[in-house]
């Protein structure tokens, strides 16, 4: 056991012999990691100072996850040296890593759904007295940590009952329960609301002040600007550059990351609103995540839905597709009323929904790209006749779509599990192109994918709209909704609180409509009472 790990982080930092160890908490040199068929990391150098936020930046598949997994001890590097706190570390395990103060928060959660928040926090390091669990002590410590983080989290709630955002908070709390010297955050804000995000940032500041080194993986430019001391850009498993965040521009970073010049992130879409593709009136879902919503989307335009996580915007389009039971309201698709909607009926009417959580709802990970892409089209004569698959025709059709989406490598027999986030999203989108689709429902289409893939997704949306399709874009990324949409609905607490178009579509107006929304929702409630 290493004795230093038991002391508080600050104390350790003060006693650390800065002269001999140098001001480096972590120093990786020449790290190489090969997986069957790929070199995930190729002689990468990386270092972290105490009290620094070091952002890892790169496209999916660039090697960021591999690097943080090596740091966290998930698997070892094939080559290179790993020096932590002045000493060479070999054969690190996740357990040891935690003991020496390395705490990772990964994107994939490691929580047990049927246990409570407290039980999860102490999983594997339960506090006991005389062999019995000291429930009270654990609950108290959990409450302290949660309070310190400023999270709105009930320690006794079961994980299963929590939203994704709350689960993320539990993960973060779990990482901070023990003494931390090196914190790894892998896109921690992907599912947090604005206020939760700002609390997380306050916390990061505090930890930084205490001398904790933080490795922060993110695609979000605003966060990077706000937090980063240094930025390391990876591309195709190679170190492109480590630079000070001072004076770095967004375009510069994107260029470093993609290796190509990118003038504009968002394409200019030529909206030509025509026929009404979707008309929703008085829609209320059975669980009241959506209440009394009126909504119109036209062919030839992108209709955006903005709002905070949990405001009901996602449930709105899920209900339209037939994934949420309704309690009131009508839905018309291209003039035809829809009753008892199921995904099957929606697909038949030319409606396609792309779920935000590709792992849970989108993809059959153990199956090849081809099968995933044709999954929603097995009823079409092009793919199957008399319930017998037409393999040649299927292969040809899917290959064509995959080429159009520029999936790399374009091998349609690869198992989806092995693909990066961007490629997985393309496989999902391929599904909308296998059949005649007139209304596309995008739910957070760029969550967890890199800028290069984002641009390609935007480009696809542009093509679809300009070819006359109707698109509904639900996104928590305000710039994304505002730049791509012709009109934007703002949702707040299950209601549509504003509809913005033209020059009104600004971040300020969206934020302002949340507050106005609060007031009008209260008024409505009082009127009803």
């Amino acid at each position: 056991m290493m004795d230093g790990a038991s002391g508080p982080a600050v104390a350790v930092e003060r006693t650390a012999p800065a002269a001999t160890a140098g001001p480096r908490l972590l120093e990786l040199t020449g790290i190489t990691k090969r997986f069957p068929g790929v070199v995930a990391l190729d002689r990468v150098d990386f270092d972290l100072r105490p009290g620094e936020v070091h952002v890892l930046f790169g496209e999916n598949g660039a090697g960021k996850s591999t690097l943080i997994n090596i740091i966290a001890g998930t698997f070892p590097a094939d080559e290179g040296s790993y020096v932590y706190d002045g000493r060479e570390i070999r054969r690190l395990t996740p357990h040891q890593a935690r003991e020496i103060g390395i705490s990772p928060v990964f994107q994939e959660f490691s929580l047990v759904p049927d246990l409570t928040v407290v039980e999860n926090l102490f999983l594997g390091r339960e506090r006991t007295s005389f062999g019995f669990l000291s429930a009270a002590a654990m609950r108290q410590r959990a409450e302290e940590v949660i309070a310190e983080l400023g999270f709105d989290l009930n320690p006794r709630a079961k994980i299963r009952e929590l939203s994704r955002a709350h689960q993320q908070m539990v993960e973060i709390a779990k990482a901070l329960l023990a003494e931390v010297r090196l914190l790894i955050l892998d896109e921690p804000t992907a599912s947090l609301t604005e206020s939760e995000t700002s609390k997380l940032f306050e916390l990061i500041e505090r930890l930084r002040g205490q001398g904790v080194g933080i490795i922060y993986v993110s695609h979000r430019m605003r966060e990077i600007k706000q937090l980063a001391d240094r930025i390391t850009v990876l591309r195709d498993g190679k170190l492109v550059k480590t630079l000070d965040s001072q004076g770095v521009t967004e375009n510069e970073l994107v260029e470093l990351m993609t290796g190509r010049k990118i003038d504009v992130l968002f394409p200019k879409i030529d909206h030509r609103p025509g026929e009404v593709g979707l008309k929703v009136q008085g829609l209320t879902t059975a669980n009241h995540t959506v209440e009394d919503v009126d909504f119109v989307a036209r062919a030839g335009e992108v209709t955006g839905v903005a709002g905070l996580v949990g405001c009901g915007k996602s449930e709105l389009i899920r209900a339209i597709y037939g994934l949420e039971p309704l309690s009131a309201g009508t839905i018309e698709v291209f003039g035809q009323p829809m009753h008892h909607i199921t995904p099957r009926k929606s697909l038949d009417r030319g409606v396609c929904y792309f779920p935000s959580d590709r792992v849970v709802e989108g993809l059959a990970l153990t199956r090849p790209i081809r099968e995933n892409a044709s999954m929603a089209a097995l009823d079409l004569p092009q793919f199957a006749r008399l319930k017998i698959l037409r393999q040649v025709s299927e292969r040809r059709a899917i290959q064509e779509i995959v080429d159009r989406l520029r999936l790399r490598p374009p091998n349609i027999e690869r198992v989806v599990q092995n693909l990066s986030g961007g490629n997985r999203q393309k496989v999902m989108l391929a599904r909308g192109l296998t059949r005649e689709t007139r209304l596309f429902l995008f739910d957070e289409p760029t969550v967890g994918i890199d800028v290069g893939a984002k641009i390609e997704v935007y480009e696809l949306m542009k093509q679809l709209v300009e070819a006359g399709a109707a698109i509904v874009l639900v996104s928590s990324e305000l710039p994304e909704v505002l730049h791509l949409s012709n009109r934007v609905y703002v949702m707040h607490r299950a209601h549509v609180v504003a509809e913005l178009s033209g020059a009104e579509m600004t971040e300020q107006n969206v934020l302002a409509s949340f507050f106005e929304g609060d007031r009008s929702i209260e008024r409505k409630k009082r009127a009803q009472a």
């Binding site: 290493m2 000493r87 070999r90 357990h95 040891q96 779920p355 153990t366 999954m375 017998i388």
Partner: protein, 342 residues
């Protein structure tokens, strides 16, 4: 702490996790080498008892494996959807009794009407097996009952049916013609069980690779939510998987009934056949977590289990010890599956 020597700490805690990692790698390799392992096992038994490699015994192994192959295929239909079928064994017993009763009831005193009787017996057997499947499928897919509980229930139902219909006694006097068609006959010198297994194997391979049903079963097993969002009629296909499993089990039962020449109320032996069929499928590479598998997996798994029991018989391992070994193999198979993809 600062002066600690610059080497990795801890071999004690580290080595445990390292060992797991090494083990995972080794297991993944074993998977690819399964045919080799099978051969080594055969040679190992042969070293102790040369008769293992005699032509007669190898032919016997092949014939024995035919039955288990059919049952492993039945099991695979539902395992790829993340389910399994515990009722397979008692389903086999019930089908054996019911079809034997039909056969003996319809054959006249002078042995006339055999063709009609055999046809009716086949129909009753397959019909009952499919019915059990319909029941399992409805309970699992529509009532959303866990496959373990659902098929545990039908296990008991089938046991009741088998015991009630037979009064607990074997049904004798199954016509010879039946045994000839399903057991003792040969085509071009190949025994009937092997022929049926081959035909069923090919049919199932085509079903899994060439039909919408087969494709959908894999997709549903891989991610049931995604299959639903993609508009697949998941409940209908899930039911079909259980019906297929029930019907295949019934056909296997007819093959076994023809071999014993009587309807046996304990033919499926409670859970023994269930355990062997699941073990065979899983050892071959069908994942209990769904979405992964293939007919070749069921085949190699069935051969593996058959060679193992045949070898143990020939080297005269005690019957009870054999049961213990097979139980351990089932657990080992599931352990393998857990580590295979992580």
């Amino acid at each position: 702490m600062a002066e600690a020597k610059p080497v990795d700490r801890s071999d004690a805690t580290a080595s445990a996790e390292d060992a797991t990692r090494r083990l995972q790698r080794r297991i993944r390799m074993t998977q690819a080498l399964l045919p080799v392992v099978l051969l080594l096992m055969l040679l190992g038994f042969a070293a102790a008892e040369p008769r293992v490699l005699s032509f007669g015994n190898l032919a016997n192994v092949l014939q024995q494996a035919s039955y288990l192959f059919v049952f492993a295929l039945a099991q695979m239909c539902v395992i790829v959807t993340r389910g399994f079928d515990l009722s397979l064994g008692t389903n086999v017993s019930a089908v054996s009794v019911l079809s034997a009763l039909t056969l003996t009831g319809l054959v006249g005193a002078e042995g006339n009407g055999v063709a009609v009787a055999i046809f009716a017996g086949l129909l009753v057997g397959l019909g009952f097996g499919a019915l059990v499947g319909v029941f399992n499928g409805l309970v699992v897919a529509w009532l959303r009952v866990n496959p373990f509980i659902a098929t545990l229930g039908s296990l008991n139902i089938c046991l009741g049916v088998a015991s009630m219909a037979s009064d607990g006694r074997p049904v004798f006097n199954v016509p010879d013609a039946f045994s000839q068609i399903f057991y003792s006959g040969t085509i071009l010198g190949v025994e009937m069980p092997i022929i049926y297994a081959a035909v069923i194997g090919i049919a199932m391979a085509l079903m899994f690779s060439r039909t919408v049903l087969g494709r959908s079963l894999f997709l549903i097993g891989s991610n049931p939510r995604a299959a639903e969002v993609a508009g697949l009629p998941t409940r209908r296909y899930l039911t079909a998987a259980y019906v297929l499993a029930g019907a295949l089990a019934a056909f296997g039962s007819l093959m076994l009934t023809a071999r014993t020449g009587s309807g046996e109320p304990n033919l499926g032996g409670g859970l023994r056949l269930v355990g062997e069929s699941i073990a065979a499928a899983v050892i071959g590479g069908v994942s209990l977590r769904g979405g992964v598998g293939g007919v070749e997996a069921a085949l190699i798994g069935a051969l593996f289990i058959t060679v193992l029991s045949n070898g143990m018989n020939l080297v005269r391992v005690d019957g009870y010890i054999q049961m213990i070994v097979l139980g351990a193999v089932l657990i080992g198979a599931i352990f393998l599956d857990r580590f295979r993809r992580t």
